[in-house]
């Protein structure tokens, strides 16, 4: 029974956090959108197209952040065999995949008017596309094997190998020539963009973070329920087999 003790505790904690995370998601989204669309100035070079930044940059940050959550969960699952950690990776993957896809698509929609092209095969865009495929590969491995333990282990190993891509994404704009602009917020010497643009950017980033907490906790609870169902199904199968043996 101690195997269920942990998920029960997790569910209790999730139920405390969830109402706050939902409230924050709504509040931060409304405030973030207000600043992003109404209360921030157009860029002196990019004009109104700069507003794409407020959905592009948070999605890109979250794509990387969720990947690190998934990788940390995979590491914990492989080293300590923690059953909840395995489910945490599985719960996080589709959220990270959506964020990464949105970073790519909104980036294309910003690139077309500013660079004159939707896509270039440079270090930044290519490494983010690789991250999207890593998410897809991780989810596909979960589906590919009947045995959940084996599937989870294979997916976790892929997630850990893919961590090498994270610094490549981060430093790609410094290492290789690119159309993509270099870091302007996450820099050692502080942000180089105007405060009036930092407000909507941080509000939207915080909204995306709160959104992640909500969907992640829901999906964790979902995965715990699915695990419970498969354990009960196995137990009832064994039960029927014993009954048949006794009867036979």
């Amino acid at each position: 029974m101690h195997r269920f003790a942990n998920p029960a505790q997790f569910n209790r904690l999730a139920d405390v956090v969830l109402p706050w995370a939902i409230g924050l998601t709504v509040l931060l989204s409304v405030a973030g959108l207000y600043y992003a669309l109404f209360s921030s100035p157009p860029d002196y070079q990019q004009g109104e197209s700069v507003r794409v930044m407020y959905v592009h940059v948070p999605a890109a940050w979250m794509g990387m952040f969720v990947y690190m959550v998934m990788a940390a969960a995979s590491f914990t699952a492989l080293v300590w065999r923690h059953p909840l950690a395995l489910l945490a990776g599985k719960a996080a993957a589709p959220i990270g995949a959506i964020f990464t896809a949105l970073a790519l698509i909104t980036g294309m929609l910003w690139g077309k008017p500013m660079w004159g092209t939707y896509w270039v095969w440079d270090g930044r865009l290519t490494s983010v596309l690789v991250q999207f495929f890593l998410y897809l590969g991780y989810m596909a491995l979960w589906q590919a094997m009947e045995d959940e333990e084996k599937a989870g282990r294979a997916a976790s190993i892929l997630a850990l190998v893919g961590v090498v891509n994270i610094p490549i994404i981060k430093f790609s704009v410094d290492w290789w020539s690119t159309l993509h602009q270099p870091a302007s917020v996450m820099r050692l010497d502080g942000p180089t963009i105007d405060g009036a643009m930092l407000v909507p950017l941080f509000l939207m980033a915080a909204a995306y973070q709160a959104y992640f907490v909500v969907v992640f906790l829901w999906r964790m609870k979902l995965e715990i329920n699915n695990r419970k169902l498969s354990v009960m199904r196995q137990a009832s199968l064994q039960n029927t087999e014993t009954q048949m043996e006794v009867a036979g």
């Binding site: 669309l37 109404f38 157009p42 004009g47 109104e48 197209s49 507003r51 794409v52 959905v55 592009h56 999605a59 589709p94 959220i95 959506i98 896809a101 949105l102 698509i105 909104t106 929609l109 910003w110 077309k112 008017p113 959104y211 909500v214 969907v215 829901w218 999906r219 609870k221 979902l222 329920n225 699915n226 419970k228 169902l229 009960m232 199904r233 009832s236 039960n239």
Partner: protein
Amino acid sequence: MTEFLDMGGYAAFVWTAYGLSASALVWLLVSSRRKLTASVVAVDAARARRKGDN
């Protein structure tokens, strides 16, 4: 209002970016919530069956 919707001539790019972001995120939110609700119902039903068996 028209000026706001026009986004300085970048309307097609700006509104598509916001529209796709909102639809994708809302879709994931709603589908996750639906799957969770369905799984709660399934666990309760399985528990009830188990009690019936014993």
